[in-house]
């Protein structure tokens, strides 16, 4: 196995988690035209949520994902009703300010509880070795979980009534309301799901790397890059774009210092914004 291939596989595994993180942002942005600036702090809460559960219940950290995601959904509904419901439909600046305020509140409370010192979820699964390279069990489990969650979301959006309602509201809110779909209920659920996705990605990251209450910021930045790459409102596209971003990181890092990666990612971000304003997965006819 060559070093570049190993690096790309590592990138692919981490990229699925980036993609999962971006899915939440993309869903909320696409459905209700709200740029959710609580995204980073929600990712961080996901990290701490899994950490707290794990230190009290000593079982496979990946099984604890389920209560963490459920908790995230409920939290999403609460955040929606505190800050987002009142600004949906108004200027985008309002939703930016409103979600930014919640973000600062969460970070402030989080710092008071956990301080800014690093934490770890001390759980590891046996990895798979190919030649002299090993892919850690946690990376594989995290990537698998991300794909499973993404597929579950796709099934929900395309095979269930609430999912269809969400897509309808995303397409045209007034027409959907005329069809009898309660936009308030749908927006609440959509926001809850978006936050649950952010929380779940944070929980997965906590099994891979050490974290602090401020760690969500890096993933929020990557989520913006991925969302722009994929196009808004296309959650599964966000997963694919995340994986591609991870692959790119993996392909590039053997040749240059790792510190240059953010430059390359954001350079790509700017190029895509200019060349493909609707994302690389959106067809021109849409």
């Amino acid at each position: 196995m060559s070093g570049i291939l190993a690096s790309m596989i590592d990138g692919l595994l981490v990229g699925s988690v980036y993609g999962l993180a971006a899915m939440g942002l993309s869903l909320i942005w696409g459905v209700m035209d709200v740029i959710n600036l609580t995204h980073g702090s929600m990712i961080a809460l996901g990290m701490f949520g899994l950490y707290e559960l794990f230190i009290h219940i000593h079982t496979n950290a990946y099984f604890l994902l389920i209560p963490v995601i459920a908790g995230g959904f409920v939290l999403g509904i609460v955040v929606y009703w505190i800050s987002v419901h009142w600004v949906v439909g108004r200027s985008q600046l309002m939703s930016l300010l409103s979600t930014f305020a919640v973000n600062m509140m969460v970070i402030g409370i989080g710092t008071a509880i956990w301080s800014t010192s690093p934490y770890n979820v001390n759980f590891s699964l046996e990895g798979i070795s190919v030649g002299k390279y090993t892919f850690t069990g946690n990376h594989i489990a995290a990537a698998t979980s991300a794909v499973v969650i993404a597929l579950a979301l796709e099934l929900f959006l395309y095979r269930t009534r609430p999912g269809k309602a969400i897509r309808a509201i995303a397409d045209n809110r007034e027409a959907a309301e005329l069809m009898g779909i309660s936009s308030v209920a749908v927006l609440t659920i959509a926001f809850g799901i978006g936050i649950a996705l952010a929380i779940s990605s944070g929980a997965l990251v906590s099994t891979l790397f050490p974290f602090t209450i401020l760690s969500g910021a890096t993933y929020q930045m990557k989520s913006f890059v991925v969302t722009v790459l994929a196009g808004l409102g296309k959650p599964f596209g966000a997963l694919v774009a995340g994986v591609l971003l991870g692959l790119l990181e993996g392909a590039v890092t053997p040749f240059i210092a790792v510190s240059w990666i953010p430059l390359i990612e954001f350079g790509l971000f700017v190029v895509v914004l200019i060349a493909f304003p609707k994302g690389i997965f959106v067809r021109a006819s849409a």
């Binding site: 990138g11 981490v14 301080s115 800014t116 010192s117 390279y133 090993t134 790397f209 050490p210 510190s259």
Partner: protein, 400 residues
């Protein structure tokens, strides 16, 4: 009425006694939160134990008076900007007579700007970067052996075991680690070891997969570097998870903390350059013996002392000795004593450079290499493995 009068008299006596009791205020910041927490709190325990022991023994005796030591301290949150604000406050509002440094080279460099501006003596500990002392200062005194010394011993030990080893340097892109690794790379090449890879990572990096893949691809058999506790411990964890199976891993700072045992097998075999280990025998001219220091520390804090704690305690001890020898708490007189000091304590030899070009640089203290090994009962313990003359166990090489 009589009781009231007695109470009033007692109060007056106490107040008078308080007014006449002399105190020396020592100011410093510590990192109660942030990346340097683990190491900084260990350093603080050294300061604290020194203060408690000295005050219990009647305080510092100088010029016919006895001084109780009072600390003025704040949380710098591992943040350089906070350090500048807080040291200004310590000097101007808390009226600190002497200062100790925060933990870590970058924070200490920031603090030194303020202390030099205000002409206050600062003993630095937990800070190895040499550059701080080459910027022109009068009142800085470094307790730690400088950065350039850190990896020399590890490289010498490696060369003695395996001259054909291939070395990779993976280190934090920050003042301290760069001050350690750059001279180390030059030294490695000088003694004939092959350096096959080197890369610095941004501070606060948590994902080392890309860099570790590169280390494995380079065919390196030895890794040296790291930075402080969070990145050092994460590097060791990720090396273990990736089954890198390197023959020797030397990381800065992190493995010296007693908290290192939380890594389990991933932490075993890791070597660390250390400013002080309890197994190193030294005959102190004053202050506690090594055995006494270790016993008191473990009794007080129920854990082992790391070299950060020893450095903290030694800073206090040296300051106390300088004040006692000067017979005064005047900064100029104390600094003059420190400039000519060449002493041995439980911590080892301490001598400060008096030259203007690198005033305060530590020139007497030498470092050792410690390695985590399993003792007969299977418990993880730190052994001194280099220099050979003072070792408590042989270097285990290869570690896998």
């Amino acid at each position: 009425m009589k009781r009231l009068t007695l109470l009033a008299l007692a109060a007056i006596v106490l107040l008078a006694a308080a007014a006449f009791a002399q105190t020396i205020t020592v100011g410093f910041t510590m990192s109660k939160t942030g990346a340097y927490t683990v190491d900084s709190m260990e350093q603080y325990r050294g300061f604290e134990m020194w203060r408690d022991q000295v005050n219990a023994a009647g305080g510092i005796k100088a010029g016919g008076k006895s001084y109780q030591i009072k600390f003025a301290s704040y949380d710098d949150e591992s943040n350089s900007k906070r350090v500048q604000q807080l040291y200004t406050r310590l000097i101007l509002e808390d009226k600190a007579d002497f200062l100790f440094s925060p933990y870590s080279s970058p924070l200490t460099t920031n603090a030194s700007i303020v202390t030099e501006q205000n002409a206050k003596v600062m003993l630095t500990t937990g800070a190895a970067d040499e550059k701080t002392y080459k910027l022109g200062n009068n009142l800085l005194f470094q307790m730690f052996a400088p950065g350039g010394e850190y990896l020399k011993g590890a490289l010498d030990a490696l060369k003695a075991k395996d001259a054909k080893a291939t070395v990779a340097f993976v280190y934090e892109d920050a003042a301290f680690s760069v001050a350690v690794v750059k001279p180390a790379m030059a030294y490695a090449q000088q003694i004939g070891l092959s350096v096959v890879f080197s890369e610095a990572y941004a501070p606060a990096t948590t994902d080392f997969s890309a860099i570790l893949d590169k280390v494995i691809s380079s065919g390196a058999t030895v890794l040296m570097g790291g930075g402080h506790y969070p990145d050092g411990s994460t590097l060791a964890r990720q090396l273990g998870a990736r089954k890198a199976n390197l023959k020797m891993v030397t990381l800065l700072v992190a493995p010296d903390s007693p908290q290192w045992t939380e890594l389990g097998d991933a932490g075993l075999g890791v070597t660390v350059p250390s400013q002080w280990e309890p197994q190193v025998v030294s005959k102190p001219q004053f202050g506690p013996t090594v055995a006494q220091f270790v016993k008191d520390y473990e009794a007080k804090y129920k854990t082992e002392a790391s070299y950060e704690s020893a450095g903290g305690y030694a800073a206090g001890l040296i300051l106390q000795h300088a004040i006692e020898q000067a017979g005064s708490i005047d900064s100029g007189k104390v600094a003059a004593v420190l400039n000519s000091m060449d002493v041995t304590t439980f911590y080892g030899r301490t001598k400060f450079s008096p030259n203007a070009a690198d005033h305060g640089l530590q020139v007497g203290h030498t470092m050792v290499i410690a390695q985590w090994q399993k003792d007969k009962s299977g418990k993880m313990v730190k052994q001194v493995v280099w220099p050979v003359a003072g070792k408590s166990a042989d270097l285990k090489y290869p570690i896998h």
